[in-house]
Symmetry: C2
Subunit: 196 residues, 2 copies
Amino acid sequence: MAGNPGRRAALVDAGVEVLAREGARGLTFRAVDTAAGVPTGTASNYFTGRDDLLRQIDARLHARLAPDPEVLAELMAAPKDRALVTALMQDLMGRVTHDRTGYLALLEMRLEATRRPELRASFTESVRAELEYGMEFHQRAGLPGGDETVTVLYLAMLGLILEHLTLPGVLDGVLPGTGVPEGLVETLVTTIVPER
Amino acid sequence: MAGNPGRRAALVDAGVEVLAREGARGLTFRAVDTAAGVPTGTASNYFTGRDDLLRQIDARLHARLAPDPEVLAELMAAPKDRALVTALMQDLMGRVTHDRTGYLALLEMRLEATRRPELRASFTESVRAELEYGMEFHQRAGLPGGDETVTVLYLAMLGLILEHLTLPGVLDGVLPGTGVPEGLVETLVTTIVPER
């Protein structure tokens, strides 16, 4: 295994790009080499196989799509009410819009997980850990609602992200006067999260 | 264009199977011919191209995944309350579980729509029509809640379907005593739909 960490990171990011652009079936070492602009054969020195590459893409996306700690700290200075939950979900949608490629790659990974038990096991673990962290964060912060609230909000945001990234026109103007996605995020939170 | 309707239907269903199993990139006329067990070259006599095949798959899935009219009529005989909304969503999840391949193919089509503007336009139209029909149905039946309720419930169910089909372990036991997906469907409806 080659050890240049900068090159490894560039190859993983190229893998994210290939996944989003070509779909999981297009994710070959050769395509990653081409997307990263390195000589053919390079990726095979950095990953033991496709499962290893997918696992490293998952880990990379986890870090790449996480909230900015400074933005989060600033948001969390506000009163712990429903408006704060809305602001946190708007921040999430902002990250989706900003790194569309990263989120599309996550959706491709989900579909690839239906075909690869090893990927399914590791990916399940990381998504589950994120959901459990969300529950813990919500409770510790004293935000309104319990674990059920967080789970329902998580599923509704997952649906909104899928719809907005793949068929944005479906939601456009469906609720008059409600912008997509900002206005819809507010509607989701108001519907799902209790006032206190 | 060849005109045998039975063969055309078999080819479209084979296309659904290829989409779910191989992903959008694996959907070639040759793969459809193989999955349908017909001589190579057959599909090219039935579809003008890949966009035509995808459009026909969309139309086919619309019919294939629709509720059974008799089951629906029986359900709609009950009082128009939140319990009926839960029963309707349980019926939807039952169809997801029963035709996993069809719903996985729809998810593949969504991702393929990000790459093909023509598919995005036609697919947006059919999904939007379904959402608007859901709003109309809900209102006409006198079920509790308005268009916002239907939209939020639609997005939460979309998220639940995506999670349950791709990474079912994420939700397993996350809310103690709540079965997946049945118990979770009830939690979604109770959280999102007003009591009356």
